[in-house]
Symmetry: C2
Subunit: 138 residues, 2 copies
DNA sequence: ATAATACTGAGAGTAAGTATCAATTAGGCG
DNA sequence: CGCCTAATTGATACTTACTCTCAGTATTAT
C-alpha cells in the first residue's frame, strides 16, 4: 500500500521528500481514519518532525492525486483514508455515533441486500463518490 | 424535497423553527452544494437573519438526521447536499478541479461501465458511503 | 558533485467552528 | 385561543483549523 502510494506520487512528477514519505507512512500504518491534527501530532513525535504547513500541503496534494480521500465523520475537520490502487473503498458510517464499519470485500453489484444481513444494519442511504479526471482536466 | 425534509425533521421529534426552515429552504433552493459560510451568508440577507451559531447547530442536526450530508469537494470546509427521501445520491468529483457532475439516474448495479461512456470520464475510483443506524445505536 | 528548482519550516494572520447563558419561541393542552 | 414549559436561539467571546509568505533547504537530473 505504502509502496504503491509512493510510486503514484513519483509517477505524477512530484519529489519524494522526507515529509511526504512520513505523512504517507502515518496514514498507511493502521489503515485508520486520521484527521489532519492526528497526522500532525504523530509527525511531531520522532526526530525530524515536520511542520504544520507542510502537513496540510501534503494532505491537499495527496487528495488531488486521489491517493487519499477526505471524508466527513464528525463536525470540524475531515478524516483521511488511503485509497488502494484499484480506487475502491467502502464503509458504513453511522450518522448517529459516527462509527465506521469497513467493508473489505466490496462488490458494487448486489451489495446492498447482503449488507443488511451481514452487518445487522438497515441501510437508509448511501453516497457513491466516483473519482476520475473529468473531460476538462485531461 | 423541502416538504419531505421538514416532515423528517418533525418526525424525529424536533421543532420546526424559523431558523431550521430557512436553512432547509436555502439548501433545497438550487440543489447546490453549499458550504456553511455560504448558507450563513444567504441566511443573513433577508429580514429576520439567523445567527452564526444557529447555522452550525442546524447543519449538525440535519446531518445527524441524514437529511443532509457533508462532503469534501475542496480543502477546508465541507459542502452540504440534501439527501432525497430514498437516500440515494451519486456524483462524480474530479479530484483535480473539484468539479462535480451529478448523476440523476443512479443504478448501483452495472453502473460503472456505462458511466465511462456517458460522461467521457475514466473512473479511477469511488467511495461508496452507506448510511444506516448501526446495531449499537438502535 | 553541482546546479536548478521544487519543497519546507516558522510564525503571523485569517477563517471556521464551539461554548455559554440569558432571552425567546414552538407547540401541546386546557 | 392563549398559557406553560422545554426546546431553541443569538450575541459574544473563545478555541481550533487552516493559509500565507519568504528565506533557507533538500531532491533529482545531469
Amino acid at each position: 500500500m505504502l509502496d504503491t502510494a509512493i510510486q503514484r506520487l513519483k509517477n505524477a512528477g512530484y519529489k519524494l521528500t522526507n515529509a511526504r514519505r512520513m505523512v504517507l507512512e502515518i496514514l498507511c500504518r493502521d489503515d485508520a481514519h486520521l484527521t489532519s491534527a492526528e497526522v500532525l501530532e504523530r509527525a511531531s513525535l520522532g526526530k525530524d518532525p515536520i511542520g504544520r504547513a507542510t502537513v496540510f500541503r501534503t494532505l491537499d496534494l495527496l487528495t488531488e492525486l486521489a491517493i487519499i480521500r477526505p471524508t466527513y465523520l464528525r463536525p470540524g475537520t475531515p478524516h483521511y483514508i488511503v485509497m488502494p490502487e484499484n480506487g475502491h473503498h467502502a464503509h458504513i458510517i453511522c450518522p448517529k455515533c459516527q462509527r465506521v464499519i469497513e467493508i473489505d470485500d466490496c462488490e458494487i453489484e448486489g451489495l446492498l441486500d447482503e449488507l443488511v444481513l451481514r452487518h445487522k444494519i438497515k441501510i437508509s442511504g448511501h453516497l457513491l463518490e466516483l473519482y476520475g479526471e473529468c473531460e476538462y482536466c485531461r
